[in-house]
């Protein structure tokens, strides 16, 4: 059983896995939020035919299992289009789109929460629509959306564990490897779970701080 025991090198493995998970989480968060914001802005300007498409795609993403989306991108797209797809790029595409779908819904609600009168007033002052979006709607929508967005990011962090299923060597995959080698499921999964837990807590905590700061910098009272 000498090879089955835990070794100091396992810590390096864990750190690598965590690094992969976090890197994927961070890049897909940035890409997803930008894409979601883009969807929301396009939606706001009501281009013909585009809005129903955005809504249909985001609804489909929100209402289907991420695992199935991963399989569709990782196995389906290469087979259909005769291209190569690495597990990492499939993971990146899927998680970014997924985050974008949730971000879109939240940001759209944030934009729509703003009083029509304010926009009319801004128009009366001669601001152009893009200026109104940046100066009037943007900051308020941000303050409105930040809390729910932190909520979905905490969730998306957990969703990253699914990429292990298509062979990305993230934290959960490392867990699988250690589990098979040591046959100590309780220890392995408790450790893996704790690492995710701590990350989720740090994320939620800093998200709450950011939210407080943004709300304070606008210094609005209770609306």
């Amino acid at each position: 059983m000498r090879f089955a025991d835990f070794t100091p090198f396992d810590l390096v493995l864990l750190a690598q896995g965590l690094g992969v998970s976090l890197a994927l989480f961070l890049t897909t968060t940035v890409a997803g939020l930008l894409l979601g914001l883009g969807f929301a802005v396009v939606h706001h300007f009501r281009f013909p035919f585009v809005n129903p498409l955005i809504v249909a795609v985001t609804e489909a993403l929100k209402n289907s299992p991420v695992l199935v989306q991963l399989f569709l991108v990782f196995f389906g797209i290469p087979a259909l289009m005769q291209i190569r797809m690495t597990p990492a790029s499939a993971a990146f595409i899927t998680l970014s789109l997924n985050t974008a779908a949730f971000a879109f819904v939240i940001i759209r609600a944030g934009i729509e929460s703003i009083d029509r009168d304010q926009i009319d007033a801004a128009e009366a002052f001669g601001l152009r629509r893009i200026q109104i979006l940046r100066r009037v709607i943007g900051p308020q929508a941000l303050a409105f959306s930040i809390g729910p967005i932190v909520g979905i990011l905490v969730n998306q962090l957990q969703v990253t564990s699914l990429i292990s299923v298509i062979g990305v060597f993230d934290l959960t995959k490392i867990g699988n490897i250690l589990n098979l080698r040591t046959l100590e499921p309780f220890i392995v999964w408790a450790v893996i779970g704790s690492i995710y837990y701590v990350c989720a807590k740090i994320l939620a905590h800093s998200g709450a701080r950011l939210e407080r700061r943004i709300r304070r910098s606008y210094a609005w009272g209770e609306v």
């Binding site: 609804e59 489909a60 209402n63 289907s64 299992p65 991420v66 695992l67 199935v68 989306q69 399989f71 569709l72 196995f75 389906g76 797209i77 087979a79 259909l80 905490v154 957990q158 969703v159 990253t160 564990s161 699914l162 292990s164 299923v165 959960t172 867990g175 699988n176 589990n179 499921p185 309780f186 999964w189 408790a190 893996i192 779970g193 995710y196 837990y197 989720a200 807590k201």
Partner: protein, 220 residues
């Protein structure tokens, strides 16, 4: 149609998987609501030890990925000498994770109840247990229908993860079909549409049910 030609021979097989998904979700939502109700009442209780235990449970199960929870049970339970099938393990894991979310929802339902209504029940001589079972819980459940519904929908989506521990529910059988037909795109696209239409139908039903139950309730 091309997609139909791929899927057609496997319709019966896919429906079997779908039935298993529904069965697992049905069992899990019953487990999650019962567990969530108990945990919510613990979190609302006067005793700090109960509150702490219940809060720790829901905090942990909401902040650790479901896949990790599932592996913990799937590989861990046999170590404890508990040998149950993958399906049973999956249902237990879904109930545990769902219960953590449901307890959150019911707890905020409990907190939203008008204090005066509870006082009226206490003054009429009902003991604490009866006040909870006849007044607090029924009202909390009524106002929680919609958010519990979102948990249920999430549960359905999460159930696809049971395929990773060899449960042949909808995603599990689709994997097999995709491998046999060499048409993964068609198979998974159909699967995605199936899940999306199922959860959309579910959410419409929940909204309707919520309206019906809360027809005569204040502020709902």
């Amino acid at each position: 149609m091309r997609v139909w030609r791929v899927i057609e021979p496997y319709i019966g097989f896919l429906l079997q998987g779908f039935a298993l998904t529904i069965f697992a979700c049905l069992l899990a939502i019953i487990g999650a609501v019962i567990l969530g109700g108990i945990v919510a009442s613990m979190r609302a209780s006067q005793r700090s030890a109960l509150r702490w235990v219940a809060h720790a449970y829901s905090d942990i199960f909401r902040n650790v990925p479901f896949l990790v929870q599932l592996f913990f049970l799937f590989y861990g339970l046999p170590e404890l000498g508990i040998y149950i099938g993958a399906f049973e393990t999956g249902v237990i894991a879904l109930s545990l994770a769902g219960g953590a979310f449901v307890s959150d929802v019911i707890l905020s339902g409990i907190r939203s109840i008008d204090r005066g209504v509870i006082e009226a029940a206490r003054v009429s001589g009902l003991n604490d247990v009866k006040v909870f079972l006849r007044i607090v819980l029924p009202i909390a459940l009524r106002v929680s229908v919609r958010p519990v519904g979102s948990v249920l929908i999430n549960l359905v989506l999460t159930s696809s993860i049971l395929s990773t521990i060899t449960v042949n529910e909808l995603t599990g059988v689709a994997k097999i079909v995709a491998a046999e037909t060499f048409k993964p795109f068609e198979v998974y696209a159909v699967l995605l549409v199936l899940y999306a239409s199922f959860t959309t139908a579910l959410s419409l039903a929940i909204v309707a049910w919520h309206r019906r139950l809360n027809r005569f309730m204040t502020g709902a």
